[in-house]
Assembly symmetry: C2
Homo-oligomer: 423 residues x 2
Amino acid sequence: MQAFQGYSREELIERRNELLKEYENYKNQGLKLDMSRGKPCSEQLDLSNGLFDDTSNLFSVDGTDCRNYGILDGIKEAKALFSEVFNLKPEQIFVGGNSSLNLMYDLVIKAIVLGLNGSEKPWGKYEKVKFLCPVPGYDRHFAITEQLGIEMINIPMKSDGPDMDMIEELVANDETIKGMWSIPMYSNPTGITYSDTVVKRLASMKTKAPDFTIFWDNAYGVHHLYETEDKLLDIISECEKAGNPNRAYMFSSTSKITFPGAGISIIASSKENIAYVNKLFSKQTIGFDKINMLLHVRFLKNAENIRNHMKKHAGIIRPKFEAVNEILTRNLAGKGIASWNNPKGGYFISLDVCKGCAKKTVALAKEAGVTLTPAGATFPYGKDPDDSNIRIAPTYPPIDELKKAMEILSVCIELAALDKVIE
Amino acid sequence: MQAFQGYSREELIERRNELLKEYENYKNQGLKLDMSRGKPCSEQLDLSNGLFDDTSNLFSVDGTDCRNYGILDGIKEAKALFSEVFNLKPEQIFVGGNSSLNLMYDLVIKAIVLGLNGSEKPWGKYEKVKFLCPVPGYDRHFAITEQLGIEMINIPMKSDGPDMDMIEELVANDETIKGMWSIPMYSNPTGITYSDTVVKRLASMKTKAPDFTIFWDNAYGVHHLYETEDKLLDIISECEKAGNPNRAYMFSSTSKITFPGAGISIIASSKENIAYVNKLFSKQTIGFDKINMLLHVRFLKNAENIRNHMKKHAGIIRPKFEAVNEILTRNLAGKGIASWNNPKGGYFISLDVCKGCAKKTVALAKEAGVTLTPAGATFPYGKDPDDSNIRIAPTYPPIDELKKAMEILSVCIELAALDKVIE
């Protein structure tokens, strides 16, 4: 759709003057609104204040004193809980500390120095190693591969997941393509959940590299906003069925279930991969925080209780997602200058403005007191080739602030588009 | 001293027969005694059960909600606490998760892939990189460098620290010697605290590698057993004084102050190094567990309170150290078959038996139900060139069990020595 179709130049200039007044008005209010990161809000955090209710004994079900050293891969009941949630066997699970991102980083850097299960040699022994990066995607994924010198290849996201034709073609012919980032459910930021077909194709495709590895960041696996939920196929069993049992590592955490700063995390994969992970991690630490695992299991209890807990989260943040959609629709629909998704879960709304307008829009918003994720952040190296994608993180601000910020953002989007069309 | 000086062969054979009876007697009791790891005992852990007493609010002094994301390098009050304990500036401190070992691993593997502050290139770009390893030392240090392919060079421990003549000679002439492990206070397992002279020589020596790095594992910095304490010079300020401000990273944790499985840890170094550490770690995680930091600061309060808390630990474990010494002295003194130290702090007693007898002694003990750290574990690659060192970890078992285990160990030491002398 073309921008401002049917409007004359004069009408557009008039509209711009109108908006500039509005914009100046906002600027003069000295606002400080932050929509930059996918952080839960206080009310969401309060849902888990019961985490510390029962610290009277700190022994695990099998009698392990969780205060002391020991147990590298997590206490029994933590494995059991994640087994139930993700339909895996306990021996397919490694329980880590407060950050699944850290587990991903650990695994990538170990692949570079030591290789993964099935590697012919450590990745660092190749001249160059590459990762596939569905875009727009998660900046912190891209930051890991950038820091570690892994070349990133953009893979466009389609409505059912990443472009599989492109992926299949690439991995079939290049043995230096060693991995792929993915947030397969309620993806950051597109909100897309990979279709069954996409998951099956990822699991079964021929790869030139025997150790091609899917980093399956299932960060939003239970983070539904509505009763009607997206469904995601289990990559690990699909890989097994397809004869590639060691292709995928799934990561997840309680960061957006209980406390982002103080949750627990997991790696899940084939039994063989997890045995290898244990071997890799055995030199790194004696074990992760078992007390926190214990308190999490006591608080979260089981899969059904987690479902109910997540409904409370949804109750708090769904109105925020809906407010964003309502305001964008009211201000921008039909103008051909912005499109956005309406996710059924997760933490983000992905907004595409006119080509070449994202940086300018974010800068305008910043000047008016609204902090957004930097334009470009959703692409490897921070470079959005179209300069068009903006990630909206609606969960953290109070709803009144969010609404105000969205009104301001709407003005900024239209101003940036008008500037482009008029000049 | 020669073994069994002044005894005739007949007397020794008779003594062996006597001991064999004793040994069989122990074996038939089906004992299960574990002195293998340096773990605090339950009574020690109970000293910190108050850690969870105040979880009513989880906000840090500066208003940070510790439940949420944010703050890579640790909350203000945690830095302040460690600043006071170790006489450092807050900007010299990075606060991590439950494992200082993990922080060491992180730094070594990052040095390999990315290099450290001051590195000409990542360590992985050299054909070979080497570490100096004072021996006997800590098996988990050696396991890190072994896994990561770093060659280890044994440096004998003298009564005041590692052999500095040897170290100075080596580092002056070999640019591939990139680092050194050290436990400078109440060393694992020798109990030695590095003298001021040793610390000053380490800080000021000329190194061929500009990025030669001392991994200063100050695991037992406040872990005194007696009123008369060892004193350790601060390596970081000594390095600064000597014009090598970025040479050393100090690591420490609350593992043996509060809970080994669930404490908090730090890296400390020059302000510049810590800024670099922040940069390195910024891609790995959003931050470590701030709630646990907060609860630790609330519980531990300040340096003086930590001193008092550590006195309670000492009260529990000092009798265990003394029992080990009493039993070894009573059974073995004057026989020329064993020597051991009487540490003033830390977690270990280092026992040297006759050359070639450590493995046999440990095996005999195992058969009689006493598990010790494997012989050789205190050396790189698990290879004690003299097969003589055994690490005793007296803290974990109840004192009655410990005493029985030491009686059995005494028998095993003497039996192994007799076998050697007689055959």
